[in-house]
Each structure stands twice: as C-alpha cells, then as structure tokens.
Amino acid sequence: MWEIYALAFLMIAGSIVAVHTRYLLSAVISLAVVGLSLCVTFLYLQAPDCAITQVVVEVIALIILIRAAGVEKDLLEIKGKREAFAATATFIFIIVFAIFAFAALTHLPKFGYPVMKVSSEYISRGLEETGAANLVTSVLLDYRAYDTLGEATVLFTAILGAIVVLREIGRKEK
C-alpha cells in the first residue's frame, strides 16, 4: 500500500515543479514524471489496459508538447501582493477541503473492497455474454459502447477543430 502513497507523492511533486518552474521544457518534463508515476500506479493496481493507454498517450503528448514548447521561457509571472493573495487563498481552500474531505473519506469502504454490485455482475457473466476474453474490452465495446461512441465523437471533433484552425490550404494571404 505504501507504494501507492509514494507514487502519489511523486505525482504531486511533479505537478508542483511543473507549475513553478521558469522554463517550459522543464515543465513539460516534470509533467512526464507525473504521467510515468500514474502509469506505474495503474500497473501496481493490476490495470494493464489503463497502463498501456496511459504510457502511449503520454509519450505522444510529450513529443507534441516538446516540439511545440521549444526552449522558450515562461514570461508570465505573478509577484508581490497578488502572489501573497493567491498563496493565502490556496492555503485557506486546502484547509477547508481537508476538513470536509476527512469527514467524508472516513466513511469510505476499504480500498478495493467490496466489488461494486454492477462490476461483480460484469465479472461473473462478462465472458459468456460477450465472448471476449479481455473483460475491459467487453465493458468498453459491449456494456458501455455508448460511452465509447461518445468518446470517439469527442476525439473526432477535437481533431477536426485542430485541423480547421491550423490548416495551410484555403487561408487568405495577408
């Protein structure tokens, strides 16, 4: 169990470094640390499907971000009064969140137990109902296929938008 806490600590540290570093390239690389820790967490929790998707998408996103960011400096900086105000507000919010979260999280069941009602149904009858040996795929493409269709539509729309905004053909010459 302590491994998950260590990985979560690594993820938090990576995101803090990514926010506070001055160089965009360093921020991108510390984001990669977050993604890698998340991937190892998925592997530790015995979810290889999530781990494969995470590491593959993380690598592609990292390449895109490195090529897009280059070695530019982050010129936006908040100083003085505004920085103090932001820090105080964050601190107060964290305390309030911790109080409520502590009250709520003490009522949670033990980590990973019991398996939920719907999931236990899928686990016991997934193979005979869909015929797919990989249970994750049978949930993704049979029980929750609407979800996958929506996800595919979101991806399609995002790529459509990127290509339309950044296209080369059909632009007006200035």
Binding site: N134, V136, S138, D142
Partner: protein, 151 residues
C-alpha cells in the same frame, strides 16, 4: 546510400538508420494490439496510437517530405472518418439485425480464439484506424504547421 538517408532534412544518419529498422516493428505491434484487443490488454485506442507513433517517428527522424510520401495528411483524415463510420455502422447495423443499437449480432465463437466475441474485434479495428489517422493528423497540424508558420 539510399536517397532518403542522403537528404539534409531530419536528424543524423544514426537516427535515420535505426528508425528505419524500428518503425516497421512498431506499426506491426500496433496492428497486433488492435487485432488482439478482445484477448489481451490493449485494444483499438492504444493500438492506433502506437501505429501513429511509428509515423511520428518517421516525421521526427526523416522530416516531413519523406513521411508525406508514405501517408498524406488528407489520407490520414480520410482514414479517421472511415474508422468512425465503421464504428457507427456496426452500431446501427444492430438495429435491423438484433433489435436495438449496439447489439452484438455476430456469433460469439469460442473464447480465446482470434475470431470470437462478435462485433468487438470489428469495432476495435474501426477505432484503431480512426485513432491512427486522427493522432497522426493532429501531430502533423500542431507541430509541422506551427513550425512552418514561425519562419
């Protein structure tokens, strides 16, 4: 020396030679992952991204001219639309064949065989084609177009 490696564009000769050997296995592994999505971990989405990453390695090492000979951006976006249409048609075919949207109308077969689980492998293939075209196109647009706009 091959004409591709003699070009000035792209990275050094070492990178070009190694990526020449590495790119086909990457694409083959992506295809394997798409086809075995219903048997082993993986599936359409990660398999498609792995196939696209093979082409992205081609862009990074050989430059965009060589890559565009292998896979044009317009072809990639056609592939993306085709994959989305395959998935949607499989979903709609369920209405005449089985009664409702997304019904698994093909035979289930024996588990752990490659032809089993009805429409799930076909849907995986559709998603794999779609994600491969989409990720390649969005990489090309975000990276190459932006760099050419900077100059």
């Amino acid at each position: 020396m091959s004409p591709y490696r003699a070009r000035k564009e792209g990275m050094t000769n070492i990178v070009k030679t190694i990526s020449k050997f590495v790119v086909p296995p990457i694409i083959l592994f992506g295809i394997y992952m798409v086809l075995h999505g219903h048997l082993t971990p993986g599936g359409g989405f990660p398999g498609g991204v792995i196939m696209a990453s093979g082409f992205i390695l081609l862009i990074l090492s050989f430059g965009k001219e060589v890559t565009l000979k292998k896979l044009k951006v317009s072809t990639a976006s056609i592939l993306e639309s085709t994959g989305a249409l395959i998935f949607l048609c499989l979903a709609i075919l369920g209405i005449p064949a089985g009664g409702w949207f997304f019904v698994n109308f093909l035979s289930k077969g024996y588990p752990l065989k490659i032809i089993s689980a009805g429409i799930i492998p076909l849907a995986n293939i559709g998603i794999g084609i779609k994600v491969m075209g989409g990720v390649f196109a969005v990489f090309f647009t975000l990276v190459v177009f932006r760099i050419s706009a900077k100059r």
